[in-house]
Amino acid sequence: MDKKRIPWFLFILLFSIMLLVVSVVSFSVGTSHITFRKIISTILNGKQTITHTILFDIRLPRILLAFAIGGALSIAGVILQAMFRNPLVEPYTLGISGGAALFVSLNIALKLNQRFGLLSLPTSGILGSIAVILILYVLSVKKGVLKIQGLLLTGVMISFISSSLIMLIMAVSHTEGLHRIVFWIMGSLEESNSLLLKLMLLVSFLGLGISYLFCFDLNALSLGEEEALHLGINVERTKKFLFVVASMLTGFSVSIAGIIGFVGLFVPHFVRMMVGIDHRILLISAFLCGASFLILCDTLARIIISPLELPVGVITGIVGGGLFIYALTKKKYA
């Protein structure tokens, strides 16, 4: 029964190639048919043409945003699943997305975005996330100890409360506002503001970098809190820090792209089945796979019924769910 592990660099190589292939495909397909030869000639000497605009102002930012958000949600999922030692926890379980959605819906219903401009939607999303993070933190820290199970239950309840409130807002909104709320909640990777794109990329890379410093702590925590203490981890400090990191990753993702479900649940799971539970490889792999997965789903969402677009959350759900069930039937110790 002795099995040797596949070397880590092979995984990283494989996932990087996958990311590259998916990005190139996503770059080359779309509503306006641009041949591969034309893409190359445009890159080389075709500035200020329409093709150049389509490629670099529409397709590329979308790929980059999908990359950042897919990576961020997957990292948040890895962190939370290790902390809670529960494979069903995902970034949206804790109600952070609910808080963001609630604030954004309020913003739309009260027509605040017409007064404060484009950035007001993501800003209110981030405010909503931070509000939920603070509520969760205050309610779950007792005598300096972050109660993990309490955190989970409170988070689920906050999710329910905010979705009820969103329904209330929707019920009293006008048709136009209702439409905007529904579309915002379904999520989209179309983002015209380059500042937000840069911010999201920064948050995503920071999230990966910071959580990677905690890779051994995550390994120890996934054995249990007492086990981690015995291995010399300052469990309370680590839990609080990781909770904030995962929350910020989720909050920013949701505020910028809406609720794109399933990435943070499915990717960590799938990657763990392939590379094992060592977070040194798990975090990098999850980041690369999450990014590839979301770019792929977004490409599908763009081309399936083109020129119309499907909500990307629909694709992540269907593709991810299908792959997930397939993987579960193949699992060793299932």
Partner: protein
Amino acid sequence: MLEVKGLTCGYNKRFILKNINFKLKNHALLGIIGPNGSGKTTLLRAITKIIKPQKGKILFEGRDIWQMGFRELAQKMAFVPQAPLSYEVDMTVEEFVLLGRIPYHKVFQFLDTKYDKAVAKKAMALTHTLNIKDRFIPELSGGERQLVYLARALAQEPKLLLLDEPTAHLDIAHQIKILDLIKNLNNSFKLTVIIVLHDLNLASQYCNELILLNNGYLYKMGTPQEILTAEIIEHVYQTKVIVKEKFVSSRPYIFWDFHMEDLT
């Protein structure tokens, strides 16, 4: 090496341990015995900084453990839990033993050093688990898991090793194998050991010193000959027994039989 001073602690407001005082010398092999619920495991949890004392202090090499970082403490003491790993850990034995090197990792160190690997290999050699180093943890038997946990604790290169009923749920061959190993570590490597045991005869045979806990109080500390007498056991455990001297080791041996009253 270890000094417990006026330790009172418990969970919430309920005190499990009351005013415990004892000192432990270097290279001791101390057994903690006592009835269920007498506070044996709680004492280990207090020494390993899992629960905070309400009163009193625990000094390790003269320093209060609550003044030491978790990391520093984990370099000095290692803990082997009771019946470990009932859950799935999808790791090989070697990867698991290397977790014991976590307290030595630096902030920007992400790979195991050659020294880490050498220490892990030595720990596996000592615990006879080197031949299963590529097997996965969920495939192991209970006895093998206990040995792997012991190997991980040794990879921490501790001065003090704490074990919570390492022989629970093991057959007699594995019980003796584990306790022989611990005795050997104590003898040859001068490792100080604290071990919680339920089996009084194993405690008598292997430990140099015993602490008997009863209802959260330290009832008595001393050699097996001083602690394991018929009167003390009857008083603490409310059970009638006969104590004889063992033939080779001259340690006390405890008998129990039906109709004890007829014998005594």
